[in-house]
């Protein structure tokens, strides 16, 4: 009885946190009860459909290609193991920003603090809050693979039940791992200044180290095999699979559960479920020990309150030009708010990070398979490279929150004796500078993977820059029309911002749609023509959209806020 009551309470707390982060009931109320802004709802719906239709076919092709290759080699079960691993590791990396953010920098905890709620209950709620978002990684990287495998091998009921379990628990381990690292770490490392950033940095460093470790052990498994030994390994699929015990343990359990039948399959799934629950419990335990105290300490700031030297004042007041002052403001207001900095930078540096991950598996057979697949499109590296870099660069969420991020401080901008044009320019320059990081990191990735030459790199850079300009402007226009300004919790300007959500179908729709066109027309249009076309499309639409953007911002500044 008490147990059930406790569980109910836990679920209630979790729901409050989830709801306050993503605004589900607010939207439900708005769209379905008040029937207001229904267009928003249909817009979201139709963009999801567009996304599925534009990227879907290409994705399916990749999946079926991979499946065939694994089947040919007789290591079909690795198809599943890889998918579970990829979803997990991807969750691990994208989750770190989100987890630290929602643990330490999300204001919804403050509301709970004065209430008699235990730290472990809050941590439980926090995990649910993060999980609900992270499961998206599994929806994309795991679910289609499970379904494809199941359909292709005419799986029985046990398979389907197990695959549902594997799917729904697939993000528990990554999130728990992050928390198990972060929670004690935040207590061990005591920083005086910039605590918020130091905690994040420390977490990232630890994660990258652990990832390097994973890829290193992975390499050890594969290097130094003679061809004969390698063939022997191939003849025994389990031999390959067991290597996942060192790389990503849950994948080993999950695959075993999925490919075994009867009692065996049942026992493996029990192990898998048990493993995840164990990790979960450990997290809750650590949360109870470390969470509240760290959170409270993060609310204090370091002030030295000393007499300052006269030249300190003089140095701090050096003259900068108007433009520079405004650009510095953009960077400061972006970097100094952890939620903004993490979200914005994460999306443009996620590429090289994934690359390190990928390159770690260089010697594995799957890597070779994927490379063969990619090599068959080597001729089209420039147009595809442009689209890929554009994707990485325009997903920064900075353009789509360019005005929302100001929040109430938009009034500060409004008070400045500065033209709207200059303000728009500086915002655009800032957004684009962050995007360029994304372009460059993609080009480095392409260089390492596909050995592109300097000329190709330059073409990709210009093409991606032009297209990113264009996509960033579209996103800024959308945000400028209806910015979310009334917030206390900066998360609202990013996560709960419809404008940011809209940028996903826009960017994916553009890159995926054009990518599909390139693929369809590969017999008719040469890669050079496509590269030129993309540069021109990006350039001319940017020139055209600039005027619209200015108009939108002018409107925004004339409106009462």
């Amino acid at each position: 009885m008490i147990k059930i009551k406790g569980l109910k309470r836990l679920l209630k707390i979790s729901w409050i946190m989830i709801d306050s982060t993503y605004g589900f009931s607010y939207r439900n109320y708005l769209y379905f009860q008040k029937k207001q802004r229904l267009w928003e709802f249909f817009l979201i719906l139709s963009s999801i459909v567009t996304l599925a239709v534009s990227v879907g076919p290409l994705y399916l092709k990749l999946i079926s290609g991979l499946f065939r290759q694994y089947e040919m080699l007789g290591i079909k079960n690795l198809f599943l193991a890889n998918s579970v691993t990829l979803a997990g590791l991807f969750g691990l990396f994208t989750g770190i920003f989100l987890t630290i953010n929602s643990l330490f920098f999300s204001k919804n905890v403050e509301v709970l603090f004065p209430l008699p709620i235990k730290a472990k209950e809050v941590v439980f709620g926090k995990i649910s809050e993060v999980l609900i978002f992270q499961i998206l990684a599994s929806v994309i990287l795991l679910l289609p693979f499970e379904i494809y495998y199941g359909v292709k091998s005419q799986a029985n009921l046990l398979y389907w039940i197990n695959s549902i379990l594997v799917f729904s628990m697939s993000q528990i381990f990554p999130i728990s791992l992050i928390m198990i690292i972060i929670l004690p770490l935040s207590r061990i490392l005591k920083f005086k200044k910039n605590r918020d950033f130091m905690i994040l940095l420390a977490g990232i460093v630890v994660l990258i180290l652990s990832l390097l470790f994973v890829s290193y052990t992975n390499r050890l498994v594969f290097e130094g095999y003679t061809e004969e030994q390698f063939l022997k390994l191939l003849s025994n699929p389990d031999g390959f699979l067991s290597r996942f015990t060192t790389i990503y343990f849950p994948a080993f359990l999950a695959t075993k559960a999925l490919v075994s039948s009867g009692i065996k399959g049942f026992s493996w799934i029990l192990l898998y479920v048990g493993f995840n629950i164990g990790a979960f419990y450990l997290t809750i335990f650590l949360g109870e020990k470390f969470y509240y105290q760290t959170y409270l300490e993060l609310q204090e700031f370091y002030a030295k309150k000393e007499k300052i030297k006269p030249d300190e004042l003089k140095k701090g007041l050096k003259v900068s030009s108007l433009k520079k002052a405004l650009i510095v403001r953009e960077w400061r207001y972006f970097l100094k708010v952890p939620s903004f900095a993490f979200n914005g930078l994460a999306s443009v540096v996620i590429f090289p990070v994934l690359l390190i991950m990928f390159a770690g598996f260089k010697n594995s057979p799957e890597f070779t398979q994927i490379m063969i697949f990619l090599e068959s499109y080597r001729d089209f590296i420039v147009p595809f490279g442009i689209l890929l870099s554009t994707l990485a660069a325009s997903m920064s969420t900075l353009a789509s929150s360019a005005f929302s991020r100001e929040g109430k401080l938009l009034n500060e901008l409004k008070m400045l004796p500065v033209s709207v044009k200059l303000i728009t320019q500086t915002k655009f320059i800032h957004v684009n500078s962050v995007s360029v990081i994304g372009i460059l990191s993609s080009i480095i990735a392409l260089y390492i993977l596909m050995k592109i030459n300097l000329f190709e790199a330059l073409l990709i850079f210009f093409g991606a820059f032009a297209c990113t300009n264009f996509l960033n402007m579209v996103q800024m226009i959308i945000d400028g029309i209806r910015p979310v300004l009334d917030w206390d919790n900066p998360q609202r300007a990013m996560k709960q911002n419809l404008n940011v959500a809209l940028s996903i179908p826009i960017v994916f729709g553009f890159t995926g749609g054009v990518g599909y066109l390139v693929y369809l027309s590969k017999e008719i249009l040469s890669p050079a023509i496509w590269a030129l076309l993309l540069i021109l499309i990006g350039f001319f639409s940017s020139v055209y959209l600039w005027r619209i953007l200015l108009k939108v911002v002018r409107n925004l500044f004339e409106r009462d806020l």
Binding site: Y302, G316, V319, M415
Partner: protein, 251 residues
């Protein structure tokens, strides 16, 4: 000089916050803007500084229409909002530098001016700390310094005294006097009758969006009979004095 001509503000098509307000604040005077809560003071001030667009009418700062030439007009304004709103993660000095850059204050002038203001308001030792470590009053002083550092002609202060300690309040009042005496304009809103009585050259009383009175205190006394400004204010804004007294006795 501030000129308001037939200014009306209607919020979202319904709330008439300010109605047909015409008012001129001359150079060389301190003008006090009084009125009960929700009378329309902040709304008026926000229209003067260009944060709100009047539904009707024009606002001019030194004869320049703020809605036609916003950049030019804003350069002449030093505005302190009723709630200090600054980016918390910045250090005080970074914020002041930013404002000085945007208003293009030359180096010599900014160091001198900021140094003086920091000393007067006793904020020097906190200026290299993040604003998030400031108390409410310290934040208010910072926005005050930011508003005054570029030596604007026209000071527009929305309830500037609330929240300041007595010493800072005293200094601010002195600064306001000095500014007006040098032939410039000070416009501020307040709820404190004593301050209005002692400091202002002229006052304006607004209630429910309508300007009830503009002029000197002496003229008001001549018009309505003697009494403190408080009594006159209560009478003008329609409070029933005997009833109020009865009520306070009951309490």
């Amino acid at each position: 000089m501030i000129t308001l001509e037939n200014v009306t503000k209607i919020y979202s098509g319904t709330t008439r916050a300010v109605e047909n307000l015409t008012l001129t604040v001359e150079n060389g005077e301190i003008f006090g803007f009084l009125g009960p809560n929700g009378a329309g003071k902040t709304t008026t001030i926000k229209m003067i500084v260009g944060l709100l667009k009047p539904t009707e009418g024009t606002v001019k700062i030194n004869d320049i229409d703020i809605n036609l030439y916003p950049e030019k007009a804003k350069k002449m304004i030093g505005y302190v909002a009723d709630e200090p709103l600054v980016m918390e993660k910045l250090r005080g000095i970074d914020y002041l530098k930013f404002i000085a850059d945007v208003f293009e204050v030359p180096y010599e002038l900014r160091t001198k001016r900021i140094g003086e203001l920091l000393e007067s308001f006793k904020l020097t030792s906190s200026i290299t700390d993040p604003i998030s470590t400031y108390s409410h009053g310290m934040r208010q002083k910072l926005t005050l310094i930011a508003a005054l550092l570029h030596e604007p002609d026209v000071w527009i202060l929305d309830e500037p005294i609330i929240g300041l300690d007595p010493e800072s309040a005293y200094i601010l009042k002195k600064l306001m006097r000095k500014h007006a005496d040098s032939g410039k304009t000070v416009f501020f809103s307040t709820h404190v009758m004593e301050i209005a009585e002692k400091l202002c050259d002229r006052i304006g009383i607004i209630n429910r969006g309508k300007l009830l009175y503009v002029g000197t205190l002496d003229e008001l006394k001549k018009l309505k009979g003697s009494g403190s400004l408080e009594e006159l204010f209560l009478e003008l804004t329609g409070s029933n004095l005997p009833q109020l007294e009865a009520l306070s006795r009951e309490l």
